[in-house]
Amino acid sequence: MDHPILETPPALAVFPHTDGSRVPYKVFSSQEIYEREQERIFRGPTWSFLGLEVEIARPGDFKSTFVGDTPVVMTRNEDGSLAAWVNRCAHRGAIVCRLQRGNAMSHSCVYHQWNYGTAGNLQGVPFRRGQKDMTGMPKDFDPRHHSLRQLRVESYGGLVFATFSDTVEALADYIGPQMRPYVDRIFHKPIEYLGCTRQFSDSNWKLYLENVKDPYHASLLHLFHTTFNILRVGMKARCIADERHGLHNIVMSIKQPEPGSSSDGAYKAQNIRSYDEGFRLEDPSVLEMVQEFDELATNHIQPIFPQLVIQQIHNTLVARQLLPKGPGHFELVFHFFGYLDDTPELRAMRLKQANLVGPAGYISMEDTEATELVQRGTARDAEASSVIEMSRAAPEQQDTLITESLVRRFWVGYQQLMGFDGAAPQGVRA
């Protein structure tokens, strides 16, 4: 990704400050900027999350998904390796794989039955050599030059990623030394896929990234805990942006484990308290928590730019996939999972805690509401900018939830990738 400055019309987007504390609202509504994002971000030097390895466990398993808004299929080859290809026939461009999920050792385009292997290699063209006196394909037609567009694929901890870039570093390096330990924290043993739910929002995909990078909003927008007087004992915060570019980060809320807290739910009692003037849950079981990690974190929210957000909230585990659908829309796919060795009780608890997250989540439904409020509020004011100041004076501070540092860091990294500043863009390379 080496874009000479000239190539960038200065007018496309101007960030008034260099620290990411002012974001022109145009980036949320401009079709032109959206097109560039597809090129420089989703087809640029980044790795996009496609899904979980367990979704395609057996050879031939496949799943249709997207990199940005390009339809892509991820597959498991016969030898167990992973593959991904653009879902566009090499012949006349039809979607080849028409199912969301399935198992097939080859993929035929329905239009003229061109046939591809699980890796996207063209292996059959009907009537290629004609028939009787019919000529078929010309002599110089070489199937090897007409495979599906194949992407680089790698997985880390069971998370599958793909990239259009030949130059971006290996996935593990892309995730990087700062973020890997937190990915490892969740993906430290074999997982079980529990299904997915989808949410469609009429707002720009970056508003969702801003949202997950913004712990400042948590206690202010999501009133579930405070309304029901759920005591938050000795919370410790951790907010770390990837120092290389600020595009990935981790946000955690940690509490010291306390005597009696255990998987038998005894933790419940002291976790709930009601005040005379307050409301209380009749059945607080939805908020139980079984400690299953060394560090007792109620929340672990970790965006790996651009398409993944790893989430642990109490005992729910989700890999969220973020898919842009034009400047004004995005789709979220929540991949729920547990661990293979979960007890039935723990598995049941993970499912019950699905009430907390996703489109109907007690502590998440407000997020898409908020991103849509911003989309509608800013549509007519493309030239105005947001004001992102919280804890700007203490950029180094990582132990607070009352901060917008991660948001500012994100925007600086975004500008570099998009070539929105005079600095020679390093993209996400260290």
């Binding site: 969301q100 999920r101 896929y193 529990l194 299904g195 997915c196 739910t197 989808r198 949410q199 469609f200 929002s201 009429d202 927008l221 009133l223 579930f224 309304t227 029901f228 409301f279 849950l281 009749e282 059945d283 939805v286 789709e331 929540f334 729920f336 499912l351 019950k352 699905a354 009430n355 996703g358 489109p359 109907a360 007690y362 439904m365 407000e366 898409t368 509401e369 849509e372």
Partner: protein, 162 residues
Amino acid sequence: MSPGTMERMVQRFEITELFDRYAAALDNDRLEEWPALFVEDCHYEIIPKENEDAGLPAPVMLCDNAAMLRDRVLSLRHANIYEKPTYRHFTSGLQWVAVDADTLDVTSNYLVVNTSQAGVSAVYQAGMAKDRLVRTPEGWRFKRRRIVYDTSRVQTLLAVPI
């Protein structure tokens, strides 16, 4: 009229009465009446057809007793922030079998049309309901209601139950 006919006519009538009460409560912002249509020891769930067909359990909403239903209403009234929807429920394709004299297993199609604050009405969700009804002194109540929705792309959010 064949002997069984009247019995099924009455069953259809009573099921329809329950469904209509259910719709009237949710569609006219009387959420507080909704949990009372379930027995205490009930199961309520909203899950995408996509998962149901694949035998996967992940739901968007899951309550395993009536207290959780009341909690959901309480939270919608006092804790959660969302644009208040105006639902209209429609039902069709009613099918049922009597498990025993006091138990009916019922399936039906549903459509929920929603109107936004801006005053635009649109199809919000379609799907099927898989229900178990039990006879109580107050009449038929939901022992189990599983909402299996076709509309896997939930628009914006799902606050009010289906």
